[in-house]
């Protein structure tokens, strides 16, 4: 029993922290946020040289084949530094391919993702339908040995800079669709978080062959569990950064002849922020560990992490704004950028309440023998 990161994991953490702090000063983040696609060729090239896009991709396809704990280490730093652009969306595409794609598909699409030569992104949620991870309604139309895809996908991250989309269909099926395929159009959908762009992707009878299809009932579950955990880790990083900003400000800002952090109304608020930040971090690392070592616990641990971190991320950024007072409400201060990313992350891949319902299904309806260890039957029942 040991909760420490290994030396290699600590090195990854330190290297990411240092690199991102050097590259992403406030002015640079704002510049990217104000651009159309929040994409920087230089930053992407450097991150590719660090092998981040292929962090979890197996060595066969040119990746680093590191585990979920390493991804959580990196995601925490991506949140801490508020990294704009497609690094996260492209890693999500890689996770989806790794989970269920065929060898040929991996050769053709995963390998270039691993090196950063190409980028992919997920196109899952349908306009007019629900937005929870299990709610994908696109029904492919069989056509001449392949399918026609008709629909409109929302909340597609970084579509403009992606080379291909992983399009979700019913029964956990996935189709790989290249961006310049006929019938595909991309519409920017400005959102609260300007540092990570979202798009609507219209599929107007896009023709896909059998070779583009993968997945099937339940096939994408491992990818979803990893996605929940990764977003939870990013939220923990955002919470950590805005907690530090609040503490720093509370030490410096003087009112009534003392630093405001000496007042318990302020210092207790900061203590609460630490409690929630540490809780989010504990939950994210526990989920990462479960993904690698105890797959039967992973769905529960990942939903716990996403539920808790979604609340912690929005509450801690909100509390930090309150500690900052008026200055925290200005466009000029960076705090709102973090608060907005946290707001977007909190509803990505299911919000806190949806994940709590998943937890309830596993621990209340499943009635496992021990509260902390759901039985396989309970997990099966939850599906």
């Amino acid at each position: 029993m040991n909760f420490d990161l290994t030396d290699e994991q600590q090195m990854l953490q330190a290297a990411a922290r240092e690199f991102l702090a050097a590259r992403l000063k406030s002015e640079r983040i704002r510049e990217l946020a104000e651009s159309d696609d929040a994409f920087s060729e230089d930053l992407w090239r450097e991150m590719s040289e660090l092998n981040w896009p292929g962090l979890m991709v197996s060595e066969t396809y040119g990746g680093q084949e590191l585990g979920m704990v390493e991804l959580v280490v990196l995601m925490e730093q991506l949140g801490y530094a508020l990294v704009p652009g497609p690094i996260f969306s492209s890693m999500l595409a890689a996770i989806a391919l790794e989970a269920a794609a065929t060898d040929e598909q991996k050769e053709r699409f995963l390998a270039p993702l691993a090196t950063g030569e190409q980028r992919g992104t997920l196109a899952l949620w349908d306009a007019g339908a629900g937005w929870t991870p299990d709610d994908v309604t696109l029904e492919p139309e069989p056509a001449g040995g392949g399918h026609l895809l008709r629909g409109e996908k929302l909340f597609v991250l970084d579509a403009a800079t992606a080379d291909f989309f992983i399009v979700g269909a019913t029964d956990d099926r996935r189709f790989i669709v290249e961006r310049d395929a006929e019938g595909v159009s991309i519409i920017p959908t400005p959102t609260i978080d300007t540092t990570r762009k979202q798009y609507a992707v219209k599929l107007d009878g896009v023709k896909v062959g059998e070779e583009a299809e993968f997945g099937g009932p339940g096939a994408m579950e491992p990818a979803r569990v990893r996605a929940y955990t990764a977003v939870a880790a990013e939220l923990a990083g955002i919470a950590q950064r805005t907690l530090e900003m609040a503490v720093q400000y509370a030490k410096e800002r003087q009112q009534f002849n003392r630093p405001i952090g000496a007042y318990q109304a302020v210092s207790h608020r900061c203590a609460q922020m630490l409690l929630e930040t540490e809780g989010a971090r504990s939950a994210a690392y526990y989920a990462a560990w479960a993904v690698e070592n105890e797959p039967q616990t992973a769905p529960l641990a990942a939903s716990m992490a996403k539920a808790y971190a979604s609340d912690a991320g929005t509450r801690v950024t909100g509390a930090s704004l309150q500690v900052h007072g008026g200055i925290g409400f200005t466009w000029e201060h960076d705090l709102h950028l973090f608060l907005k990313r946290a707001t977007a992350d909190a509803v990505m891949f299911g919000d806190a309440r949806w994940h709590r319902e998943q937890v309830a299904r596993m621990v209340i309806d499943g009635a496992p023998a021990e509260a902390s260890r759901p039985s396989p039957e309970a997990l099966a029942a939850a599906k």
Binding site: M1, D4, K251, G261, L274, A283, R356, V363, I364, A371
Partner: protein, 390 residues
Amino acid sequence: MDLTLSPTEEAFRDEVRGWLEENHPGEPPEDDQEAFEFSRRWQRKMYEAGWAGISWPKEYGGRGATLIEQAIFFEEMVRAKAPRVANILGLVMGGPVVITHGTEEQKKRYLEPILSGEEIWCQGFSEPDAGSDLASLKTRAVKRNGGWAVSGQKVWTTLAHEAKWCMLVARTDPDAPKHQGLTYFLMDMEQDGVEVKPLVQITGEAEFNEIFMEEAYIPDENIVGEVGSGWAVAITTLMNERAGLAFAAQAALQLGMRRAIDLAGSTSRNGGLASEDPVVRDRLAQLFIESEIFRVTNYRGLTKIMKNGVPGPEGSLGKWQWAEVNQHLMELAMEIRGPYGQFDDGSEYSLGGDWQYQFLRTRANSIEGGTTDILRNIVAERVLGLPKLR
């Protein structure tokens, strides 16, 4: 990161589990005095099997268990619903303090009777006017005939009515700054100058007492540490309390969680079961998540202690979180019961269980062993480095 038990740790867990299965003494008797004697016999049995001083070094009769093993041990005790031992304060505070700060003579004199439960210990720290601000305590010790005469009042003293020894912090130098004029004594409770009065709690029980001291006598050799170093010695005691009890608290919380889930699954509400009500489900799930995070954070803390040697102020986060989750869980259980929750436990109209008792008892969680308000101060000042108001 490795959250699985090593083969040695697993073997240790199996050994504890097996021993508890074979030696579990059953339910304690109803009567308070009989129940105490029952817990004393239970401790004796654990002592004879070598389980009493689980964290103590082997040279002092302990088990010399690692922190992980201690965690496993406390979790197994709760899981087996094993009764508490009689001399809990002696084991988690008194013994460790004597081992850390005591003389060789003191170790010879005090340690074994603590382990066997032959001599019960209590802790005389808090006073009516010195609660969270412990260092402002007023109980006076004046030099007299190769010893000290002690006068004053202590409060919230668990087990004082059974105790032979009291870990007493008293002021020996009223002119020194408040943290420096204190001395840590071991006071014999069996003397004329000491009077113990039970304090009845909101649950109707009397777990703790007031102690009144009028010229009580303590010989010089019963000082632990140096005259004037009582504050530092007292801090050691409190650190041990927090680290040792966290794992028992965590295991108990998991059991409570399980019981609350079962309660929701067996109580009607709005024409269905409470466990089908979306609001109840949401709140139960949230508390489940928080209790699991408390467990995981405890293990993270343990890794840190094993690396750095001492528990850090981060332990305050855990105690604060535990109190909140435990209280919210019992509030939810009472809410699930609805108006039936008002009936006394054991009333013929009650739906069973000791929920009302637990609900009332958990009111103390955010006060006992450091109030949540003080813990927030500790976190703000010592973990976040925010300035002190004082």
